[in-house]
Subunit: 298 residues, 2 copies
């Protein structure tokens, strides 16, 4: 099918690679306001050609928005205005409530599937695109009853072709859960990078940076263009998750400071349980839509 | 040379592999109070044979302590009592002030080299041992003027054979720097794991756990046997680093909460600088002892 991708960075570019490989996309049209990225995307074969926004979304089967969530807000309504009756539109942003609210009364709301594939790296741009980025990961689809069943089926088929499992949630559930497992770790890494950089002799610190430090601080490399608007759009839940995290850090510090060493040991042992959970019986998703809806919808 | 390793876990076992490969160790004697680990270490060929503490440190060229820092405190003085005049003893613990203080008046203090190779993984036990774990990493040697030059030279040669660069620091500098680049990231990961586990529906959280979350929380798998005593022995500096981190997290949260979005963006952009520093002109070490001493000693 004819596939149009708006935003040819890490996410849009990686999706282009896999959609072409799986033959889901037979024709790939790219749109990007960054002319250098647009040129690179054609040169490395991510898309077949570049079009303007206006031309690229006409007469296409699916439009995929893979741009920062503030930019999505700016153009989503226009995109829905201009597509043909049968075109499916999905967005891949990390926040969902604000995006959905912005088009809730749009006459083509049912053409739109709000999605969030839980995958990425700390790199950006078309040259950061990689095959199999989404394989084995979860794609969240939100408020699916507000989308047309044909559009939903097409998007499900597309994510499955990328090797993804699908989770169905309300936009509110997705924003709350994602605050804890994705937005909080980013905020924690940004703050850690800033905390360590205040230390007097940066050369000593960074010569000593071991694998553990590099791993913990990796997300602090993530681009502000993408992450600043995510924090803004999910402000309340990210603040909530930061409050929980700060409470736990203070408790850890106080146990250490007050020599409550038994309590400190318990905190470490409880944290260790993350190993069993991360390496255990995941995913809990059952690959059956009805059961999933039951699991993840109140 | 005849090499005795006390503690056949991740660190001791990995060192055994590389010392044998580089032919620095021609005979490898293992000591471990955990009988299962001792048996495994012989079975997988990490060491040639197992000895009791008393027998294993007699008539050997070098004794390497690769055990949790509280266990080091318990036996280091006894080890120095029982070795022959020419044996070199090194410890590989992450904290240095308390260890050194415990043997400062020992008659064989000059046989002892307090060391800290900055490498590891979140796994433990002899089966976690891996080749080249130390390659390209930094080995810190502390208070080198209090060790005999022959012992120092032997240890330098040993770490260089593992592919490590050597940094010379006072015990105080090492404990302070290590608090920020190693102990703080561990504390941050433990607290993050605990914070996320308090969230109501753990299944949702962990199904959604993406690469970013896994990376940030990876260190929370690290064993309490090793880490609890590190926090205890470096209590003051870890509390200091936690205070700096909590201050930065609160500032991030407050900027977000109060919609000071320009400030929030600046925090992200400043954190992004970690990429340049981590991927830049490191290491700052010059491979010349004299210059290193200048760089890292006041």
């Amino acid at each position: 099918m004819r596939t149009t991708i708006i935003g040819l960075g890490l996410i849009g570019g990686s999706m282009a690679k896999d959609l072409r490989k799986s033959k889901i996309a037979t024709e790939l049209i790219g749109i990007d306001i960054n002319e250098i990225h647009a040129k690179q995307a054609v040169e490395i074969g991510l898309v077949d050609r570049i079009e303007s926004l206006e031309n690229g979304i006409k007469n296409t089967d699916i439009v995929i928005l893979a741009i920062p969530v503030d930019k999505e807000l700016e153009i989503l309504s226009t995109v829905l205005d201009q597509i043909s009756e049968n075109t499916t539109v999905i967005d891949l942003g990390s926040t969902k409530r604000v995006i959905i609210e912005s088009v809730k009364n749009h006459p083509k709301r049912r053409n739109f599937i709000p999605a969030h594939p839980m995958s990425g790296t700390e790199n950006s741009g078309p040259t950061a695109a990689q095959e199999d980025l989404f394989k084995g990961k979860i794609a969240i689809l939100c408020d699916q009853e507000d989308s047309g069943p044909q559009h939903l089926a097409l998007v499900e088929k597309m994510f499955q072709s990328l090797g993804m499992d699908i989770a169905y949630m309300t936009a509110d559930e997705q924003d709350h859960s994602t605050a804890f497992v994705s937005h909080l770790p980013h905020a924690a890494a940004y703050a850690l990078a800033n905390a360590v950089q205040t230390k007097e002799d940066r050369n000593i610190i960074f010569d000593l940076a071991s694998g553990g430090f590099r791993s913990t601080v990796r997300l602090a490399k993530s681009s502000s263009t993408m992450w600043h608007p995510i924090f803004q759009q999910n402000r309340d839940y990210v603040v909530e998750s930061l409050n929980v995290y700060i409470k736990h850090l203070k408790h850890f510090r106080d146990c250490l400071k007050n020599e409550e060493d038994d309590k400190l040991k318990d905190l470490i042992l409880n944290a260790n349980k993350i190993r069993g959970i991360l390496e255990g019986e995941n995913p809990h998703f059952v690959k059956n839509e009805e059961k999933l809806v039951k699991l993840y919808t109140k």
